[in-house]
Amino acid sequence: MNTKNARAFATQLLVAALVVLGAGGGLGFAIVDLRQEISLSANTARVLEQRVVETERRIAELGGAIAAEQSPEVLAARNESFALGLVRPAESQVVRVAGSVTDRLTAKRQAEIFAAESGRVLTPVRFNTGGAQR
């Protein structure tokens, strides 16, 4: 038996095994680390996704609550409970303007300016109070 060759073979086998073990171990650790990173990213994505869903849920909830508060029935009740006395305008309170509204407002503003310059007192607006009419 060629003992020299046998020993060399055993040594090589041992070295190869150690290299394989080392490389395998290293590769294993790398894979584990990679998977851990994947897992962390996936979990972060899942958490973000949940937060988006949560936010959408709250928006919907809030939208519903706002719509309920803006319901004409609720607003009418508020008007009464806060004694605001808000009423719908009646036709008698409305002045229909046939011509250009812009021209009328311009003329009105100019009249106010000229009146102020000439020292005249001009009451620009007269309010017809509606009060708490129903």
Binding site: A6, G63, A67, P72
Partner: protein
């Protein structure tokens, strides 16, 4: 001889052998796991870790014409208790002192929970008592004992918990508390437009109204994903395999305007308070497009309380109930005779007659409430609502043409109201008419129509001769608010020549004047056209002298109609004790609603003209 030290032959062989054996063992185990036992372990993993999770789509919203939310979807949380989980956790504590401390801590948290939910501590504690529930023997596989019962791990606690409440409850970290989240439909305006919107029941099945009609747009498409969970039932996000995201439902924008609907419903309430009718309905629409602006019925119901509402209240009276239209139907015979060129607005009729020979036989007229000694013109027949005059107009047309015009006006057939559950009405073929039908039908008796048919019948005159299809949905919008589909106005048919419609409109203006039957509906400065109707109710096969259906159908401004409105009050009882004429129970409501719509829709008063309003309007380029 060289010293070999550690690397002697035998040791090297031994190490090599150990390494080979180790690899061999690993290889064997790998083969065992991945080849021999593969199916078994895969099945086990599939069973415990693998789950298919459904992702329900969120149902789309319903908006009114101005974008106000009429129906939306929110999540609803059902709280439940798993009493066994708490017991398991307590038992898992290794030391008695720690166990007692944990138990005490949890008890305090449960007391806080009770306070948060407005319950007594005893009530909450009772839910935490471990219990069993019965199950079929073949399903009893969760524990080792097959005795037909299993641990109750989902004891329902409280339904309808809000997100805000739930956030507070979660912060308490009460052990054994579990929950289920699902979508629930809510209607922020409650009763508003209940019969138009419809509702979605607890099984997510739409019932009536827009909810059912537009379900294919609203419901969306549920998604799903395959997931794996760890031992604590937490999803392992990295193992998500396949994912089909849920696609939320589209939104639907109605032509109904919540503000107009509210005005109408308020008026309906006033009618109910004053006249205590059996039922009543009000319709408001745009005569040129056929789009409904408001539709309200009495009785009605709260959409959020559909489960406790009798089915009778859920019926859309406007589409599903039949009434004898009474004098509002007189427009058919009159318009028909005008359209055929048989009469002009100034043609006169003797309305003192009691009977007349028609098709060789004497026919008795329905009597008028007033006697008119002088012959009445066609315009006066309409203004004063003469039964005798209208019957003569019907006779001029003849059975077949009268029937054809009635059909053309939309009577006796479904109007195409999109939300369904619509009755076609009753209009018999002339071959089945009795001898007196020719005197009754022109006055709106011996036929039955839905309020929708009466409304759109008048719409023929308001629109300039076209019969429009009733429509409620204006647009469909996707989840991002982009318009997906727009519903266009649809003309069912052209019934009258434009000139005839204009003549009719002018004549109907006289109804709403001091000489007409609807003087209470006069709005100073505005041209209002309309027709009152009072029909005796058929009770036990006989026309009742005490029970009436009073109605008013009108539009304004007559020369350029913006609003078409119908008010029908069934069996109203005027507080003064008189007959529930249309001019008493319906026309005043028309006026009150119209006055508010003038402000809301900014409808200008008619320009003073010397000639007929229609001619003035034509000079401006005609109606669109």
């Amino acid at each position: 001889m060289t010293a070999r030290g550690f690397a002697s032959h035998s040791r090297l062989y031994l190490v090599a052998l150990v390494v080979v054996v180790c690899f061999g063992v690993v290889a064997h185990r790998l083969i065992d796991l991945h080849v021999i036992e593969r199916e078994h372990f895969l099945a086990q993993i599939q069973d415990t870790r693998h789950r298919v999770v459904a992702e329900p789509a969120r149902r789309g919203n319903i908006y009114d014409a101005r974008g106000d939310l009429l129906a939306t979807t929110k999540t609803d949380i059902t709280l439940a208790v798993d009493p066994w989980a708490l017991q398991d956790k307590i038992e898992a504590q290794k030391f008695p002192a720690r166990m007692a401390r944990y138990e005490q801590e949890q008890r305090e948290r449960r007391a806080q929970l009770a306070e948060l939910l407005g319950m007594t501590v005893a009530e909450v504690e009772a839910l935490y008592t471990p219990s069993w529930r019965d199950i079929p023997l073949e399903q009893d596989i969760h524990d080792d004992v097959v005795d037909g019962r299993t641990r109750a791990r989902f004891v329902k606690f409280r339904e309808g918990v809000t997100e805000e409440q739930f956030a507070k409850i979660t912060a308490l970290r009460v052990a054994g508390l579990t929950h289920e989240r699902r979508f629930r439909r809510v209607y922020p305006h409650r009763e508003l437009a209940a019969h138009v919107i419809g509702f979605v029941n607890k099984e997510d099945v739409p019932s009536g109204g827009v909810e059912a009609f537009a379900d294919q747009y609203l419901k969306g498409l549920s998604g799903w994903r395959e997931i794996e969970r760890d031992g604590k039932r937490v999803e392992l996000a990295q193992y998500r395999q396949r994912e089909v995201p849920a696609s939320d439902g589209w939104g639907v924008t109605l032509s109904i305007d919540a503000a107009i609907q509210y005005i109408v419903e308020q008026e309906l309430e006033a009618i109910v308070d004053r006249f205590k009718p059996q039922k009543a309905t009000i319709l408001v629409s745009d005569p040129h497009t056929g789009f409904l602006l408001a539709l309200a019925n009495y009785p009605s119901f709260d959409l959020n309380e559909f489960g406790t509402t009798p089915l009778d209240k859920q019926r859309n009276i406007a589409a599903a109930d039949l009434v004898e239209p009474g004098s509002t139907f007189k427009i058919v015979a009159t318009a028909g005779a005008l359209n055929e060129g048989l009469v002009t607005p100034t043609t006169k009729f003797d309305c003192t007659l009691d009977s007349i020979i028609y098709n060789g036989k004497p026919r008795r007229f329905m009597r008028d409430d007033h006697r008119y000694p002088q012959p009445l013109t066609v315009a006066e027949v309409i203004a004063k609502s003469s039964n005798v005059g209208t019957a003569q107009l019907g006779m001029l047309l003849g059975d077949r043409r009268l029937y054809d015009y009635a059909r053309a006006f939309g009577f006796g057939e479904r109007s195409g109201y999109p939300l369904g559950r619509e009755e076609p009405g009753l209009l018999a073929d002339p071959s089945k008419w009795s001898g007196i039908d020719i005197t009754r039908i022109p006055a709106g008796y011996s036929i039955a129509a839905t309020p929708l048919q009466v409304h759109y019948g008048m719409g023929v005159i308001a629109s300039g001769g076209d019969l429009m299809r009733p429509q409620v949905i204006r647009q469909v919008v996707d989840a991002q608010g982009e318009v997906v589909y727009t519903f266009k106005p649809a003309v069912r048919r052209t019934v009258l020549e434009r000139g005839t419609a204009e003549s009719m409109a002018r004549m109907l203006q006289r109804v709403v004047s001091t000489e007409g039957t609807a003087r209470v509906a006069v709005i100073p400065g505005y041209e209002v056209a309309g027709k009152t109707g009072t029909a005796q109710k058929l009770i036990d096969g006989r026309y009742s002298a005490r029970n009436h259906i009073g109605s008013f159908v009108g539009f304004f401004p007559a020369s350029q109609p913006r609003v078409l409105m119908t008010v029908i009050v069934d069996d109203g009882k005027p507080p003064t004790g008189g007959t529930a004429y249309g001019s008493v129970v319906a026309a005043p409501s028309f006026k009150r609603i119209a006055e508010q719509l003038i402000q809301y829709l900014d409808i200008k008063p008619a320009a003073p003209t010397s000639g007929p309003a229609f001619f003035a309007h034509q000079a401006e380029g005609g109606r669109r």
